[in-house]
Amino acid sequence: MEEPTTEQQQKPVESTALPLSASSAEERRKLIALLIGIAGWALPGLGHALQKMWGRALAVFLAVGALVILGAGMRGNLFTSRGEDAFATLGYFADLGSGSFYWIARSMETAGPDVSHSAGDYGTRFLATAGVLNLLAALHAYEAARGRKA
């Protein structure tokens, strides 16, 4: 049987080394994208700011901030983790979507929510929308970091 040449011996090493390296880079990219997504959730606009998408970062920060300030100003209902039913739990998850702004809204609502008037009811929607919009923005930042069309 013919002995393999030096070139033939090296070939398999080359063919496995390259995909491994590419896979490692992909894993790293996934991790960074995940961290960017989490940063975007924690502070609205940060996920885009980390990728130097300044316009989008500013738009997300201002939109979520405006919704939270208006919602809390209207004394909307900010749900807590001790929800009494499924809707309250869903509302809590929606509100929590605004990340650190959830606690800003809580600190703003010193007198508590007042949904006996229509303004309070509007405020509840504003707060929930702020959370859902921020989740959408965080997902957008994650997708952009993964290199997908965004």
Partner: protein, 60 residues
């Protein structure tokens, strides 16, 4: 709030904020962003008013 807003004003404010965010996130070029935001804003208002009128017979 100091001056309470009526339903239409709140809806318009909501539509404006969301449309601007959608436009900025959804498109890359400034002109396209503005166009998308304006279209989204118009649809928010039109559909909101249409649903309001559709519910009018059952409101009392």
């Amino acid at each position: 709030m100091a001056a309470p807003l009526n339903h239409f004003q709140v809806m318009t404010l909501f539509a404006l904020i969301i449309s601007l965010a959608f436009g900025t996130l959804g498109r890359r070029r400034p002109k396209e962003r503005l166009k998308y935001a304006a279209w989204s804003f118009a649809l928010f208002l039109l559909i909101g008013i249409a649903i309001g009128w559709a519910m009018y017979p059952f409101s009392r």
